[in-house]
């Protein structure tokens, strides 16, 4: 029985049932739009669908085509992601140049556009032209947080497939059954992950440095309330170094990529071309990595103040994200004022948007910390 490629996807039964039905009926649309929160399996499902569309057995997960597609190296699979904060028109033009050709292996060409909401206006309009004149063998899969992120002219040409947050129980079950994590650790991770399985998996990576980082940030937050201004600035500095501290890995990978590519350059001119292109891509990757890390830190901070607010309103710890710190939450919630808490949450939302527009992150953290000391 086919469609085994979907077996690894956790907690998206509705979306998967729909896609399996589509595959069975062979009434494939030219474009799908996967909407839902970050980290719930939209990307993984997109790759699985791409594999199923081209697999002779409807997505067995084992044949060469399935495996290459899942690894993202299938020649008729194009994966577009923002390399900086946006997907640019150059990326869409490059895509158009490559999909003008019939498929390499004679089946469908699948184009996955990740974070499609980050296409700027020029890129969206360029893509629209391609979506308006679909070729038989092309299938587009756009991934976005919501339908509203896209131009209506684009979203109206797509079949929308909603993805939802994964129930906490499903994440705990996966962690315990498949990864051998103990029940209380699994519960803690499932709560922090906010219903996103990929986030939960990230927590397990690299000897759990993300969990450690969370502990560090939470300990900073515990002492910031009512502290002197100098203390607030030093917390801001610590947050900033958390945001940029993890670039070493990426820098190392980029350096290797550059060296390897230059070694095989066809000519000095080709070498210059590669260097230029890679340098630009690397700069974009770096800024993207930084804004992802900043967002991750803001997630941790807002989860803390959200918990304080929730505890004030419900006095129950079962709804807490950071339940492993329930004693401190209970203490602090008693002292905090509701309007200050809601204000902090609102400001974090603003900072999140600002970081997307190249605001100096150091200044943003300082501003935030000054607010936090008044909570």
């Amino acid at each position: 029985m086919g469609a085994m490629v979907f077996d690894d996807i956790v907690g998206q039964d509705q979306a998967l049932d729909f896609l399996k039905k589509v595959l069975k009926s062979e009434q494939i649309s030219h474009a799908y739009l996967f909407v839902g929160p970050e980290g719930v399996g939209r990307r993984k499902t997109a790759l699985a669908l791409a594999a199923a569309l081209n697999c002779a057995k409807g997505g067995c997960g084992h044949c060469s085509r399935c495996r290459r597609t899942i690894r993202g190296v299938y020649p008729d699979l194009k994966l577009i992601q923002p390399e900086g904060n946006f997907i640019t028109i150059e990326q869409i033009r490059e895509l158009q140049g490559s999909i003008k050709l019939r498929s390499y292996e004679g089946h469908r060409k699948v184009i996955i556009i990740d974070e499609a909401g980050s296409m700027n206006a020029e890129a969206s309009n360029a893509l629209l032209k391609t979506l308006e004149e679909p070729q038989d063998e092309e299938v587009f899969i756009l991934i976005a947080a919501s339908v509203e992120e896209l131009l209506p002219t684009i979203s109206s040409r797509c079949q929308v497939v909603p993805f939802r947050r994964v129930p906490r129980e499903a994440i705990i079950r996966e962690m315990v059954d498949r990864r051998g994590i103990d029940q209380s650790q699994a519960d803690k991770i499932a709560r922090i992950s906010g219903g996103t399985y990929s986030r939960a998996l990230e927590m397990l990576e690299g000897e759990g440095w993300r969990l450690e980082r969370r502990e560090e940030i939470l300990s900073l937050l515990k002492k910031i309330s009512g502290s002197p201004v100098e203390e607030a600035f030093s917390v801001a500095g610590a947050l900033l170094s958390q945001a940029v501290g993890d670039q070493d890995n990426l820098l190392e990978v980029q350096k290797e990529e550059m060296e390897e590519s230059l070694e095989v350059a066809m000519s000095p001119r080709h070498g210059a071309f590669i260097r230029n292109k890679l340098r630009k891509r690397h700069a974009r990757q770096l800024s993207r990595k930084r804004s992802l890390e900043i967002n991750d830190i803001l997630d941790i901070i807002s989860s803390w103040y959200r918990d304080l607010l929730v505890y004030q309103l419900t006095a129950q710890d079962s709804f807490l994200i950071n339940r492993d710190h329930r004693n401190e939450i209970r203490d602090m919630a008693r002292r905090a004022r509701i309007e200050r808490l809601t204000n902090v949450l609102k400001e974090i939302g603003k900072i999140r948007r600002m970081v997307g527009f190249y605001v100096n992150p150091g200044a943003a953290f300082e501003y935030l910390c000054l607010l936090l000391r008044e909570v």
């Binding site: 390499y104 004679g106 071309f273």
Partner: protein
């Protein structure tokens, strides 16, 4: 893997294969040439659009495969003396060893597992024709193809087989070239759009060691997404361009009021001379008046040029202007003794074709003049 062959032979084949390597790619594996030694020695290179496979004459000491960086391979081979070369894979070192007389090179190789698999053209329809026929048509039309990636379909050449005929069409919407020829074998109808690069590459194939009177045949195989050209152990595989070719036949006018005949070399020399003063995109003008054709050009602040050519013409005075490069491209495709130059009015396309031969035509849009 270990192979032995002559330096000149290997260098020549590496040169051919490396024409499939794109300098627009940043993917390291695609800048390599895959060398396989099984029943024969073959070199394979691809940019995922076009692949070239070529066979090398030589001895196989041990079968196997490797992927070596193309540029380095060319540089090394060029520098070697004209003698036997041994290429040997050193699996433990992840390198390939190249020796020639007393010189020895050890170069790092890429992983053959990363090299893209070549497309299989299965259940394909095939046609065989003379390479010279194919190359002749290709040379006549290929310049007219568009280089604008935004109009993907026009960057290709329309290749049409029907009723023992092959036809090639190219246009960039400023000019249109159509060329056809008879072929010996019966074929089912095929119409595909082929990237211009692949057409050029095939037309450059060399028939090697051919006995004078039997020209080897170029074998063409079609699949729905790819096509393949084979000759003498040399293969070009290309992906096809998807989309519909514009209905170009509608563009070709059925009748012309003004027709003159001239030797193409004379017309070409004149236009080339006058075009030196058609700078900054100004056109070359053609003025038809009884028994004379006046060709002129002028560029503001540079100067002007004018030349009269005697012709047989008895109609009304008419004028038309063309981009000189486009005009000369068309003329260059006509090797016959006399070219027919046809026009109707200043706003309708002009046409160039060999006299008494309907196998080639070149349509060119006029430039509006003030």
């Amino acid at each position: 893997m270990e192979i032995r062959c002559l330096k000149q032979e290997l260098l020549e084949k590496v040169h051919i294969a490396s024409r499939a390597i794109s300098t627009k790619s940043v993917l390291p594996i695609l800048s390599g040439i895959k060398i396989t030694a099984a029943k024969t020695i073959s070199l394979i290179a691809t940019d995922l659009e076009m692949s070239i496979i070529t066979q090398v004459n030589g001895d196989i000491v041990e079968t196997g495969e490797t992927v070596a960086p193309a540029r380095l391979l060319v540089d090394i081979l060029k520098s070697l003396p004209g003698a036997a070369v041994v290429v040997k894979v050193m699996p433990e070192q992840g390198s390939v060893n190249i020796t020639c007389q007393n010189a020895e090179f050890d170069i790092r190789v890429l992983s053959p597992a990363d090299f893209p698999e070549l497309p299989q053209i299965t259940g394909a329809r095939t046609v065989a024709l003379k390479l010279s026929t194919f190359s002749h048509l290709a040379r006549q039309v290929v310049r007219a193809a568009s280089t604008d990636e935004a109009r993907a379909v026009l960057t290709g050449i329309l290749l049409h087989f029907q009723d023992k005929k092959i036809k090639m069409v190219a246009t960039d919407s400023y000019r249109l070239a159509v060329s056809q020829a008879n072929i010996d074998s019966e074929v089912s109808e095929e119409e595909v759009i082929v990237p211009a690069k692949a057409i050029t590459e095939v037309s450059r194939m060399q028939p090697r060691e051919n006995p004078k009177d039997s020209e080897p045949l170029l074998r063409v195989a079609f699949a729905s997404n790819q096509m393949r050209f084979d000759m003498n152990g040399h293969t070009v595989i290309t992906r096809l361009i998807s989309g519909k070719y514009p209905p170009y036949q509608q563009l070709i006018p059925s009748g012309y009021t003004t027709v003159i005949e001239l030797p193409p070399t004379q017309l070409e020399e004149t236009v080339r001379r006058i075009a030196t003063l058609a700078q900054n995109n100004t056109p070359v003008r053609f003025f038809f008046t009884p028994n004379r054709l006046i060709i002129s050009a002028s560029t503001r602040e540079v100067g002007q040029a004018r030349e009269e050519v005697p012709i047989q013409y008895s109609g009304e005075d008419r004028e038309i202007a063309f981009n000189p490069t486009f005009f000369l491209d068309g003329l260059a495709s006509i090797k016959e003794e006399i070219v027919e130059f046809k026009m109707d009015s200043a706003l309708k396309p002009g046409l160039l074709k060999p006299r008494g031969d309907d196998n080639f035509l070149y349509l060119i849009m006029p430039v509006r003049t003030g």
